[in-house]
């Protein structure tokens, strides 16, 4: 299960709205203890995909380096990533699966007409052949 605290959740939704009609992306920091992962910090990032961003995103590795440093200094871990699907449902696409990593929580937010609609979370399996839904709790 993934719990997202109110402050990071608000930051994620706002980033999704601000980037509409392009996809947003970002990094989640928190703790990964059983039974639930808890996201305490969300870092909105620049979409580094070169091309039409209405249905593609890419994280800049430099932003990931900075996020990893921030996590380590705060005693947290990078527990996953988030992105938006403008005017699409919150599913984990073949592109998402192919370009993900196992273990991480992946939150997909559906942003319709500039407003938040719904969100789902997924975890890719070890060989990235499929992604399992992860129970998601947010504010």
């Amino acid at each position: 299960m993934l719990k997202i605290e109110p402050q990071p959740w608000a930051a994620m939704v706002e980033h999704g709205r601000a980037c509409f009609p392009r996809e947003c992306c970002g990094i989640m920091l928190g703790t990964a203890d059983d039974p639930a992962r808890v996201c305490t910090v969300a870092i909105p990032c620049r979409n580094a995909y070169v091309g039409d961003q209405k249905d593609r995103f890419q994280l800049d590795p430099k932003d990931q380096l900075a996020a990893d440093r921030q996590a380590r200094e705060a005693g947290l871990s990078v527990i996953g990533f988030f992105h938006s699907h403008p005017n699409e449902d919150a599913y984990f696409s073949a592109t998402d699966l192919k370009n993900s990593w196992p273990w991480y929580s992946n939150v997909v937010m559906s942003i319709r007409n500039g407003e938040f609609s719904h969100a789902k979370a997924f975890i890719a399996n070890d060989d990235q052949s499929a992604a399992e839904p992860e129970e998601l709790q947010h504010a």
Partner: protein, 92 residues
């Protein structure tokens, strides 16, 4: 010895450590020593042909080794090496 920062998903293969120090003068040597010490890491970092996987980015301090000398990039004892997952996707 250079310090390698381990991303969260790979810590399960290195006794749950968040960093590991190993000896080596180049990135190739350091990652070789790391995967010798922790063999389960190898399939996560290298393809069957022995090449660094395309979705694995390796940085020495703040520099991507693809823009340095790749696996021949020299490292010093005080350097920090980061393994950064390549993350992308989208609705299409």
């Amino acid at each position: 010895m250079p310090k390698i920062l381990i991303p969260t998903p790979l810590r399960q293969y290195v006794d749950r450590k968040d960093s590991v120090e190993v000896a080596g003068a180049t990135i190739g040597e350091v990652l070789g020593a790391l995967t010798t010490q922790y063999p389960d890491l190898r399939k996560n970092l290298y393809s069957d042909e022995g090449k660094l996987r395309s979705f694995v980015n390796v940085y020495v301090n703040d520099e991507d080794i693809r823009y340095l000398s790749k696996d021949k990039t020299e490292v010093k004892a005080a350097d920090t090496i980061s393994i950064v997952p390549s993350i992308a996707g989208g609705g299409r």
